[in-house]
């Protein structure tokens, strides 16, 4: 239940975001979710898009370095303690969450979070064991609010 995320290297200065957004817009590729990580010098734009293969080819063709990473989209109950319960699954497991961000399209009382684990397979095994719902790529791409 892994989905593909694109990461782009950007310099930390004004005007860096617009070009990749325009490129994707021009090709009719939808950005379903994104997060921007920043340091003083540079940033990494991470995005889940409607067609990751086409988007990667397009961005690479435009001179970007693109990294494709497998991440896990997990449904979290949208109530106080929902995320804390999920985290309990990984307590003392040695599995590290490298980063996470929210996916904008939840469903009624459930939110969706994107997780980047250092050991995605071990994480998925635990999630399956606990009956936690993960969202597949088709589902992620097709969700609309």
């Amino acid at each position: 239940m892994k989905i593909h995320q694109l990461s782009l290297f950007l310099e930390n200065q004004p005007g860096q975001m617009i070009e990749p957004c325009r490129l994707l817009a021009g090709a009719g590729i939808d950005i379903r979710s994104l997060s921007l990580a920043d340091t003083r010098q540079f940033g990494i734009l991470r995005a889940i898009v409607s067609d990751w293969k086409a988007a990667a080819a397009l961005l690479e063709g435009a001179g970007y370095v693109v990294n494709v990473t497998e991440v896990v989209a997990i449904e979290v109950e949208d109530r106080p303690g929902g995320l804390a319960e999920l985290m309990t699954l990984f307590e003392n497991s040695g599995i590290n969450i490298e980063y996470m961000y929210a996916f904008p399209f939840g469903r009624r009382d459930r939110a969706v979070m994107i997780f980047r684990f250092d050991q995605p397979d071990a994480a998925i095994e635990r999630l399956n064991g606990a009956g936690v719902n993960m969202v597949g790529s088709g589902d992620v791409y097709n969700r609309l609010s």
Binding site: F9, E11, N67, E98
Partner: protein, 438 residues
């Protein structure tokens, strides 16, 4: 200017040219004999040309001798060009080379004495005497600048403050409290010191400081004007290189119109940097130096890569030593940063070692508050790019550390987007030097 009050050590500065030529020929013959007898590389090269030391009959025969280049020092690392047994070597210094290995230079006691002698004459030429308090802000250590200036100033009878480089605020405090009258450092460091003093509310013009002996990097006439007016001092250019002896190969005089070469110890020639052919007197070309009296490490026709010309006309200061014009540029791609020699190939080596392949990179040189800065911009490649900030920061740190280790100085590394470094005809312009702009 009359030579009546000169320091006794400065006597050779005023030798009649004919007498100087005769002294040079005698010394050239003996240094060639010494190198032939003790340095295998030199002997082999002479034999390849079917030459013997006895073929040196006049000074003009020097042009028949093979050149020595920087890579010869690297190829024979560490001691291959020594002409004295280690028991007679009293000092080793080293400067940065092109591949991370330094270049090692050696001195016998007689060599240290010659070095001290030319530094006494250098400082005397800048008007410094036994009453002066000299702040020596050249780095002490393997670099020749610190100890070279130190020994010279001490032998002159001046009071030496061996403060070495760095810690600018302490330098300013010492300059003020110790009533320093002369300073030795790189010109860019002095400009930095002036700026910092201004920020601290210290006006250097009001201090007793009256002379500066600046070297180890090229500087411009406009830098001199700035230093002299903002510092209220006379600023003199001193030239030298470790391979020859260190500082004290040539120095300015009160006329500030070219640097007198201490020709009794260092024989200068100007050659075409492309063909190596000697050029007529007065022409601009590459400076080649032969050490006439060095024992531990004679350098025969050493290619300095510095571009200059020689002035044979008499100087208004009365010295008869020929002058070389101030160094404006070099015939290779060497960068001099805060007195440290840096080759782009060293930077390439460090980048290659970290990344496995050579990324596109560019070296940007700027001057901030008078201090030279180097930024190495490195394009991020798919091979090293990761979705994790930590991985990129680690790469950044590894690159910084590798450059620091190779060059021996702090360099800023900036990771940049691919295709952002300008390429001309497929080849990137490696060095952008903005230090003397504006």
């Amino acid at each position: 200017m009359t030579p009546s009050r000169f320091h006794p050590a400065s006597a050779p500065d005023y030798l009649p040219p004919a007498q100087m030529r005769s002294l040079q020929l005698d010394r050239l013959r003996s240094v060639v004999e010494r190198a032939y007898a003790h340095v295998e590389l030199f002997r082999t090269r002479l034999e390849e040309r079917s030459l013997a030391p006895s073929d040196i009959r006049g000074l003009e025969d020097i042009a028949r001798l093979p050149f020595t280049v920087k890579t010869d020092l690297r190829d024979t690392y560490p001691f291959g060009l020594f002409a004295s047994p280690m028991q007679e070597v009293v000092r080793l210094h080293a400067s940065s080379g092109t591949t991370g290995k330094p270049i090692v230079v050696a001195y016998t006691q007689a060599d240290v004495d010659v070095w001290t002698n030319v530094m006494v004459r250098s400082l005397a030429s800048c008007g410094i005497t036994h009453g002066d308090i000299v702040q020596n802000a050249y780095g002490y250590g393997l670099f020749t600048g610190g100890l070279g200036a130190h020994y010279g100033a001490e032998a002159l009878g001046a009071t030496v403050i061996p403060i070495s480089g760095g810690n600018t605020e302490r330098q300013i405090m010492v300059m003020k409290d110790f009533k320093v009258t002369a300073i030795c450092c790189t010109p860019s460091y002095f400009i930095h010191l002036l700026e910092r003093a201004g920020e601290l509310g210290v006006d250097v013009r009001e201090l007793p400081l009256r002379a500066g002996v600046f070297g180890a990097e090229p500087w411009t006439a406009s830098m001199r004007r700035h230093i002299e007016s903002a510092g209220g001092i006379r600023a003199y250019d001193i030239y030298g290189l470790s391979e020859i002896i260190g500082p004290g190969v040539a120095v300015e005089c009160p006329a500030q119109n070219g640097l007198h070469v201490f020709e009794d110890h260092f024989y200068p020639e100007i050659v075409d940097p492309e063909t190596g052919e000697p050029l007529p007197e007065g022409s601009e070309g590459e400076l080649v130096i032969t050490t006439l009296s060095k024992q531990a490490m004679p350098m025969i026709r050493y290619r300095t890569r510095d571009i200059t010309s020689l002035i044979a006309e008499p100087c208004s200061c009365g010295r008869t030593l020929r002058r070389m014009r101030r160094i404006g540029r070099r015939s290779d791609d060497m960068i001099i940063l805060r007195g440290v020699n840096v080759f782009p190939s060293q930077i390439e080596g460090a980048l290659l070692a970290v990344e496995g392949t050579l990324p596109h990179y560019q070296i940007v040189l700027t001057r901030e508050k008078g201090l030279d800065q180097m930024e190495v911009q490195v394009e991020v490649t798919p091979e090293v790019f990761s979705d994790q900030i930590g991985a990129l920061e680690k790469l950044h740190d590894k690159l910084t550390h590798a450059l620091d280790h190779t060059l021996g100085l702090r360099v800023a590394v900036r990771l940049v987007k691919p295709q952002t470094i300008q390429r001309s005809e497929g080849k990137a312009k490696r060095v952008i030097d903005r230090r003397n702009q504006g």
